[in-house]
């Protein structure tokens, strides 16, 4: 994954160095440490003074997607990012976010704490792509705070996992807001721990968490997904795993907590395997066993 046109990337960091900040009308983009100094109000969103990472403040409607890229290019780099995205009322926007390692053997670490503030009436489509080397350690911890009538469509895809991935995602839903969280992860020689929490704390809030997890060679995946409803709201968990390798393991742990009798929360969870019938069918169409598995996995992950 190479940024072909880096000038158009709104925030691009390689290792610890900011390569590019591209500000456009209506958007303020700063290193998060600079935002900490400049705006007092942002301090309430950070637990501590940020070392690195971005601050993006979308103040006006823009007609292009936000692009950010955080790259690891050198061996044994240890990134510790604090990111904040604030979107003002009634703005509809899209963000394409890439976090990656340039090489497969950098033994690096990428830690990120992110807060995403969607004020009232905001619509955010957030597409998050990860591509890591096989010896990397990655631990993002993201919080989405949704205002009234705001809508979040969050898609996370990780088809090239690191050695260890600990991904935490929490969504705090505002009144009449909706959130749609889709996580697609291809486990391959990796240890993956997922923790999603969807808080439905305001009336008429709605949310869905959808997981599609594939356990390929030597992967251990544990996904703890919770929906916690304390208001009259609706939530659904849809967790599906596909186990391919005999040395892999997928654990799905869905949790529903309901503290309001008008809330409706549901879940479905399943772990399956590729059937011999599907495999033979595709092989009788001329695909090798490996090609057939790849096609079935791609279909499962819808990639």
């Amino acid at each position: 994954m190479v940024m072909k046109n880096a000038k158009n990337v709104h925030f691009w960091q390689v290792d610890h160095k900011i390569k590019n900040i591209f500000e456009a009308k209506g958007i303020i983009i700063l290193p998060s440490s600079e935002a900490w100094r400049r705006y007092n109000w942002v301090k309430s969103y950070f637990k501590r003074k940020p070392k690195e990472g971005y601050f993006i403040w979308v103040k006006k409607q823009v007609d292009f997607p936000l692009l950010t890229c955080i790259t690891i290019a050198s061996p044994k780099v240890s990134q510790d990012l604090t990111n904040l995205l604030v979107i003002e009322k009634n703005i509809k926007t899209k963000a394409n976010v890439v976090c990656n390692a340039e090489k497969n053997n950098l033994c690096a670490s990428h830690k990120a704490q992110g807060k995403f503030i969607l004020k009232d009436g905001v619509l955010l489509e957030y597409n998050h792509f990860h591509k890591w080397g096989k010896k990397d350690f990655v631990s993002p911890d993201y919080e989405f705070i949704l205002g009234e009538n705001s809508h979040l469509l969050y898609t996370y895809k990780n088809l090239f996992p690191p050695q260890s991935l600990e991904l935490k995602t929490a969504i705090y839903s505002g009144r009449n807001s909706s959130s749609n969280l889709n996580l697609t992860i291809n486990g391959l020689n990796s240890k993956i721990k997922l923790k999603e929490k969807l808080f439905l704390e305001r009336e008429k809030a709605q949310g869905i968490i959808r997981l599609r997890l594939v356990g390929r060679k030597n992967s251990q995946i544990v996904a703890r997904s919770s929906v916690i409803a304390t208001a009259a709201s609706k939530g659904h968990l849809d967790c599906q795993g596909l186990l391919i390798d005999k040395n892999s393991k997928i654990s799905l742990i869905p949790e529903l907590i309901c503290q309001n009798k008008k809330a409706q929360i549901t879940h479905e969870a399943s772990i399956g395997k590729i059937s011999e019938e599907q495999l033979n069918y595709l092989r009788m169409r001329g695909l090798t066993e490996e090609e057939a598995i790849n096609l079935i996995v791609a279909g499962f992950l819808k990639i």
Binding site: N280, L282, R283, M284, G299
Partner: protein
């Protein structure tokens, strides 16, 4: 006519149970043959074995395909493909339209057709189907007729020399049967592709007129007859039970 496929004394088992008990079959280039038999007689097992489904173990016999003489004087003998992988057999030019194909979720029919049409230098199959149909997930919520069209499209994309249609006529109404038969005639028969039609009711014979009908019972081919009308007449009148008692049993 050149011999394309030759099956010699084939014995096959699955789950330690013998299913095919010494099958012999020869199919010439451009020939249409039929395999007729009741449910559970081993017809689909034979088709799947020809294609190399690992579920079926060949315990005896040979499957020879497309022979080339080793020298000017030697006779034409095909290569034994009994140990070949399914994909290798497909790439040699053998294809099977499944009776009950499985669903492949999330994979569009067009995706698969695009991929497989490259294997034998074919192009994306040119059949009159709704474009939306090609964008559907393979066999997901397909009607019986749609499954057959999907199978036909895939077989077409593989550009085979020898195609097996396993109960392509089952679950079709008379109009759909006519449509499917016309496609097989135009796209395969007229292009000299050898065909094995597997069926248990034989109505498709009126459209495709097989050169030879093989009747299969309990894992054995018990009758080979050129006159398909005669075979159908007997079976329709007396059922397959009569075949068991027939004094002209093959072999």
């Amino acid at each position: 006519m050149k011999r394309l496929l030759e099956i010699k004394n084939l014995t096959v088992e699955a789950n330690s149970e013998e299913i095919l008990k010494g099958i012999s079959l020869e199919i010439m280039s451009g020939q249409v043959q039929a395999l007729l038999g009741p449910n559970g007689s081993g017809k689909s097992c034979l088709a799947q074995t020809i294609l190399g489904n690992p579920k079926y173990k060949v315990t005896q016999g040979e499957i020879l395909f497309e022979g080339k003489p080793r020298s000017r004087t030697s006779s034409l003998r095909g290569m034994d493909i009994a140990k070949f992988s399914p994909e290798k057999r497909v790439k040699l030019g053998i294809a099977l339209a499944w009776q009950s194909p499985p669903t492949i979720k999330g994979v569009k029919l067009s995706q698969l057709l695009t991929k497989i049409s490259t294997f034998r230098g074919s192009t994306f199959p040119n059949l009159e189907v709704e474009p939306q149909f090609l964008e559907r997930e393979i066999n997901l919520d397909f009607s019986g007729g749609e499954k057959k069209i999907s199978e036909l499209l895939q077989i077409l994309a593989l550009k085979p020399k020898f195609a097996i249609f396993d109960e392509i006529d089952s679950g079709l109404d008379i109009k759909k049967l006519e449509e499917v038969s016309k496609i097989i005639k135009k796209e395969f028969l007229n292009k000299n592709v050898s065909i094995l039609l597997i069926t248990h009711w034989g109505q498709i014979f009126d459209y495709l007129k097989p050169d030879l009908v093989n009747v299969m019972l309990d894992g054995k081919i018990i009758c080979k007859e050129k006159d398909f009308k005669k075979v159908l007449k007997v079976i329709k009148k007396y059922g397959y039970e009569k075949c068991k008692k027939c004094p002209f049993l093959a072999g």
